[in-house]
Amino acid sequence: MNTSQIDGDLVDLMHSVLRDRSTGPADGHHATPPSIWQDLADLGLTRLSVSADNGGSGATWRESAAMLRAAAYQGVQLPLAENDVLAGWLVDEVGLAGDVALRTVALADSATGSARVPWARAADRVVVVWPSSEGWRLADLPSSELTVTPAHNTAHEPRDELRFDADRCESITIDREVVHELRLRGSLARSVQMTGALERIVELCLIHTRQRHQFGRPLAAFQIVQSTLADIAAETALAMSAVDAAVSAFVEGEPASRGLAVHSARSTAGHASSRVVRSAHQLHGAIGTTEEHDLHRYTLPAVAWRSEFGTVQGSDDALGEMLITAAPGHAWSVISGPSGT
């Protein structure tokens, strides 16, 4: 069977470690990674797709994506994407010597600093990438050489402000293609995380509408509610499908196929989250808006993530551009993609 699945036991393991370890805004400020980080690291789950030479597990994007999705599904906030498919990949890609330090990545717009760096406060090192007059530069800096000012995104995840001195640190030149891929990877990682959150949101809606009774029957007994549940499940399925295709483009697809796949995934997951998050809060009623209820542990990230590493409409624009710059009559070859997708 030509499906591209990963080992079900591995996914079960991920969920079993993450289950009931949900961390959110009420659980502290993440000055250090949550205690679960070491447990995951010991199991080789924190740098799945990083090469074994650099202390990784030597698996693929597919395993990394399963982990990102599982953490989002379980509501556990961790710098998994940053440490694995972003900073971990960069270290591999540019041929630096890696180690097991917790890394994040900063895609800076200047040689002095960057806003909204994910998890900078908890990282041992930050791989900083910035544009210079001679092209893109990269430095793998220890946190001791950085000034970090805490800030956060809508979901209360660390998105810190970072200052560094490009003149004083050792840096290398990197190809702009590497930066392009870094952006695509960031966009895909957030899209993968979104699907994990959306899946959990649909389940919470199913649970709530079966348990909550009004007018003498469960909410789920109303056809209008069933119809909404069907719609959010459908949108989630579609997002999942586009995201899985994009993950595959990084595993077995040609590099040229990745842009289309990632932008499609981001667009589909982004527009799906509008629908799913909106309907989920409507179905949950007022209780869903509280800190006490779990819903926000999934709805806030689903919204926050779609605005990181690019925007949803930015992906729509990019896809439109790909279509109208293709040769006349070739839109379908763009949309259906090359072999292996």
Binding site: V202, E203, L206, A230, T268
Partner: protein, 388 residues
């Protein structure tokens, strides 16, 4: 429901298009490009309902693109559902006229293979694969739309066969097809088991006891018919499958019918034209709108293929199939909607844009009705995910 369960019900495991499938795709694409260039057909919208062209169907048959999943013993090509998927998706992307053989190729042949007798298979399958026999399908009735179990067409046993009486409606292509499958009651309605007592019959549409009356669409075009069956004799050897099991037989093939590329590609030819026109005149449609629709085409393409892959391997995918239909048919309408809202009066030298837009807008109401109204399919999905 655990994470794994919900997910597996709504989204089958991802399937990757192999290099062999991709090669087949490119071969079909190249052939269709030549057809358009040589004026064999003009790309149309909703071609699997409106594009009746027996000559083109026979050319496809010669190339082995019809009856692909029929075993070679029965005149087919012994290929997989995934190969058929790739070919049909390319045909729809090109807006090729495929209506003549569509029902026979999609529904009739698989049903015959599963439920037909050896005699029925030998009689019909080679002709279907050669595009020599075209079929329609008789399900809906004046009082039975989404509620199929309420059909009132009745079959009564007589010496050597059955007499079938009743009225079928919305029967696409009945005026051009040779025969159809009619769903009829062979036992009175049992209110405690409404799905029992139904059976399928293979009815010769050229029989003198069959009257066919056109139902003209609001465009004035003739695709649908009302079919009156006036005590039509159907010999025993033209009963399909088992008497009393019509409901199960009809439903067993629903997955492919609901999840195929025809559920999201009906207005693709219009979308392709929108893209090409915008390449010429960048003020026409925004990149953003085109991009958003392209992402959805791409996602539906992947989801639909994964459902086909699951069905090919005998796995249950009814909920995911209903999801493809609900999302896909609404997307087909969204394409027509954008075209009209943004550039409804846009004129081209060839007139292609206007024609495709008019076809898409006027065919659109049917997209979310045929093969199960979206409202009913949402309830099917709700049941599949455990909401009811």
């Amino acid at each position: 429901m655990s994470a794994a369960t919900l997910l597996s019900r709504i989204c089958p495991p991802r399937a990757t298009e192999t290099a062999e499938l991709y090669e087949l795709r490119l071969a079909v694409r190249e052939y269709l490009r030549r057809c358009v260039r040589d004026g064999v057909f003009t790309p149309g919208a909703d071609v699997w309902l409106t594009g009746w062209d027996p000559e083109f169907s026979r050319d496809l048959a010669k190339r082995g693109y019809i009856g692909m999943t029929i075993p070679t013993d029965y005149g087919g090509h012994g290929r997989t559902h995934l190969e058929r998927f790739v070919v049909t998706e390319e045909l729809l992307a090109a807006g090729a006229p495929v209506a003549a053989h569509w029902i026979a190729d999609r529904q009739i042949a698989p049903s015959l293979l599963t439920f037909g007798t050896e005699h029925q298979k030998r009689t019909f399958l080679p002709k279907i694969a050669a595009a020599q026999t075209f079929f329609a399908i008789g399900m809906s009735e004046p009082d039975s739309g989404s509620d199929l179990a309420s059909v009132r067409t009745k079959a009564t046993p007589v010496e050597g066969g059955w007499r079938v009486s009743g009225t079928k409606v919305w029967t696409s292509g009945a005026h051009l097809a040779d025969a159809f499958f009619a769903l009829a009651r062979t036992a009175p309605l049992d209110t405690s088991d409404r799905h029992a007592g139904l059976s399928q019959f293979i009815v010769d549409l050229r029989s003198p006891d069959v009257q066919i009356r056109p139902i003209r669409s609001m465009t004035g075009r003739h695709h649908f018919n009302e079919v009156f069956l006036d005590d039509v004799f159907v010999p025993d050897d033209m009963v399909l499958g088992t008497i009393g099991e019509g409901w199960q037989q009809v439903n067993s093939e629903l997955g492919f019918e609901r999840s195929g590329p025809e559920r999201f590609m009906s207005t693709y030819a219009l979308f392709a034209e929108m893209v090409d026109e915008t390449s010429q005149d960048p003020t026409l449609f925004s990149r953003r709108d085109l991009g958003r629709l392209a992402a959805r085409f791409n996602a539906l393409h992947h989801l639909s293929f994964s459902v086909a892959n699951a069905l090919e391997h005998g796995e249950e995918a009814d909920t995911a199939a209903a999801i493809v239909k609900v999302l896909g048919t609404s997307h087909e309408g969204a394409v027509a909607e954008l075209a009209d809202l943004d550039a409804g009066d846009h004129r081209t030298s060839t007139g292609r844009f206007e024609t495709l837009l008019t076809e898409s807008l006027t065919q659109r109401p049917g997209f979310t009705l045929r093969g199960g109204a979206s409202e009913i399919l949402r309830l099917v999905i709700a049941r599949g995910i455990g909401a009811r």
